[in-house]
């Protein structure tokens, strides 16, 4: 992200594309059909054509579903209304139902707790590994390439893996704990409502490590060597160098990493389904899984949509901040726009 931002800013300084100047000679898409258009107009038209599929896709696959989800949350839905596209207006009934349903309420609170705890551990572990990988030692390239593995797995597979590891009988976690003498009888990780969320938390921390490690690692690579050397010459201790020099320089990347980490984690779904399925006794239902349950298992699409909107608001709180942090790439486009 930092790299992209820097690159975009550097490009802003580069000369703007020549438009009218080089225009006379080229034949554009529109030659013939629209003979009187200027070269600049033709280029504009070509640009719009290149962009058209993406605009159509954004409208169809993002704008329409989000708007429809808002509509749905104000409708009195039933399995029979699905075929009709719209259902009778329900006012705030769905929101009322969601906020008075203990499972929905605890799912909202749990999602927030889960997200904050995940981020804290992902960041600490990811940053430590990024610092480790920025040192020189034998095998660092190899280690860095394998650290990506958790990222590449389908999330449902990650869920299944951790379900296997946390089984009470025959799970590797209990076996290790028993062998080193920490526990004398197997812990019911997945059957105890107080423990099951921890298995999801551990699974989620695991799968987020590559993202934090690689993003922060690439930011650390961008810290100028002279700055680091100057700090060493000035007699700064490693801890001082980290806290006073390196962290302030890579702060924008840290912010983006935490922000995107927050966004990934509030929408975790597959992992929970693969690991606990939301159980036992709904003790691991997050907003996403409970919303799925409301819509697709209880066929209460209106309430599912209302809960979705709670999630959407939580996620979109980050949008202005994300746009601001990505302002490097936005500024370039503003510079180009007319």
């Amino acid at each position: 992200m930092g790299r992209r931002g820097n690159q975009a800013q550097a490009d802003a300084a580069a000369p703007a594309p020549a438009t009218a100047g080089a225009g006379a000679a080229f034949r554009s898409l529109t030659t013939g059909s629209l003979p009187r258009l200027s070269a600049r107009r033709k280029q504009q038209f070509a640009g719009w054509l290149f962009l058209a599929p993406a605009i159509a896709y954004l409208l169809f696959a993002f704008a329409l579903p989000v708007i429809y989800n808002v509509m749905l949350s104000f409708e009195r839905t039933s399995p029979a209304t699905i075929a009709n596209f719209t259902a009778p207006f329900a006012g705030l009934d769905n929101y009322h139902a969601v906020f008075h349903d203990p499972t929905s309420r605890s799912a909202i609170v749990r999602t927030l707790e889960f997200t904050v705890l995940s981020l804290v551990f992902q960041f600490i572990i990811g940053f430590s590994l990024a610092l480790l990988f920025s040192l020189r030692f034998p095998g660092r390239t190899f280690a860095r390439s394998l650290i990506i593995v958790p990222w590449l797995l389908p999330l449902i597979v990650t869920g299944v893996i951790f379900r296997f590891l946390f089984q009470a009988e025959g799970g590797a976690v209990n076996q290790v704990l028993t062998n080193v003498g920490l526990v004398d009888h197997p812990i019911q990780w997945l059957n105890d409502p107080h423990l099951a969320l921890w298995t999801i938390l551990i699974g989620n921390i695991w799968l987020g490590i590559p993202f934090f490690t690689l993003l922060l690692y690439s930011a650390l690579q961008d810290v100028p060597v002279e700055v680091k050397e100057a700090a060493v010459i000035d007699g700064a201790s490693p801890w001082q160098r980290l806290r006073l020099i390196i962290v302030p320089i890579i702060l924008p990347v840290i912010e983006v990493a935490l922000l995107l980490g927050f966004v990934f984690t509030v929408k975790v779904f597959d992992l929970v389904i693969g690991l606990t399925g939301g159980g036992p006794a709904n003790s691991t239902q997050l907003i996403t899984t409970w919303s799925y349950n409301l819509s697709f298992q209880q066929f209460s699409f209106g309430q599912g949509a209302a809960l979705n909107n709670v999630l959407l608001v939580l996620a979109l709180i980050c949008a202005p901040l994300y746009l601001w942090l990505s302002r490097g790439s936005l500024r370039t486009s503003r510079g180009e726009g007319r």
Binding site: P17, A83, V157, G170, V263, F296, L323
Partner: protein, 289 residues
């Protein structure tokens, strides 16, 4: 100790730390690979073996031929068919992402369009929208326009993972191309389309491969849209096949784990074949999920 020896020792300490981190990070994957080769008796013996106890290919044989001992009625078809389905969905998602994203990214970086700022902002925001929000609505919208239970429907939905990311990554790449490149083609009389096709695309090949790899993995690994817009029998990708093997009360571990291992084959292949593309994609500020 001399200074040189000291720094050598420090280096090996780092190697040791990295090795420990790798063991922790890779152990879960190792565990299911081992588990997938265990016999049903071993899997239900209540003991975890660090290396395969009585290695067997039975689990793979069972899932690839279809059906499973305990949850047969819920599972439709074999994982062989499911693998083909997932391949098709992954390739479809990659193709859709390229068709939409490559020209769009080019337009957003090399043409002065009034909408550029709006579109780029929308793409950033689109990456934030949770898939469950889209899935709930798309289920009803697809029902309405008859795209439920179809490849085009699933691929259109899976594109939501890949397309905003692909456009943003490719756009950053296109910024690095000098404008003179396109201008010289234009001066030589090439149309905008020819310039794009014959000059821009060949140069962007590595960036295009990167986004195609990510889009493929997104389509291959998708579970939430498969669960929602494939409402029923018929098309079943491997992720849904794994889910169906997870019974409500008892899990057919042999089938689950061999399917899970099959599902991580493409990731492993990509890691080996397209390593440099993956690393560059990740650090381009990617968003997953």
């Amino acid at each position: 100790m001399t200074r040189l020896q000291k720094s050598r020792a420090l280096q090996w300490l780092c190697t040791l730390a990295a090795a420990a981190a790798l063991v922790i990070v890779l152990f879960p994957v190792y565990a299911i690979i081992v588990g997938s080769f265990e016999s049903t008796e071993t899997l239900f013996s209540g003991r975890f073996y660090w290396v395969p106890h009585e290695a067997t290919l039975d689990n793979y044989r069972t899932v690839l031929q279809g059906g499973s001992a305990t949850t047969q009625e819920t599972v439709s078809g074999s994982q062989t068919g499911n693998v083909l389905t997932s391949l098709l969905v992954g390739l479809g998602t990659a193709l859709l992402a390229l068709v939409v994203a490559v020209p769009a990214a080019y337009a957003l970086s090399k043409y002065r369009l009034r909408v550029t700022l709006v579109i780029v902002s929308s793409l950033l925001v689109a990456q934030i929208v949770p898939s469950i929000v889209l899935a709930t609505s798309l289920f009803i919208i697809f029902h309405w326009i008859h795209l439920l239970n179809s490849y085009p429907g699933l691929i259109l939905a899976d594109g939501t993972y890949a397309i905003p990311f692909a456009i943003l990554v490719l756009r950053a790449f296109f910024f690095s191309l000098p404008n003179e490149l396109m201008d010289s083609a234009r001066v030589d009389g090439a149309s905008e389309w020819r310039t794009f096709r014959l000059v821009v695309i060949p140069i962007a090949r590595s960036a295009i491969i990167t986004v195609a790899v990510f889009a493929f993995l997104a389509g291959w690994g998708d579970f939430i849209f498969a669960l929602t817009v494939l409402n029923g029998t018929g098309i079943q990708p491997i992720t849904l096949g794994i889910y169906n093997y997870l019974g409500n009360y008892s899990t057919d571990w042999g089938a689950v784990m061999s399917s899970a291992v099959i599902a991580l084959v493409p990731a492993a292949v990509m890691l080996m074949v397209a390593q440099r593309y993956i690393a560059s994609g990740l650090t381009a500020g990617s968003v997953k999920g």
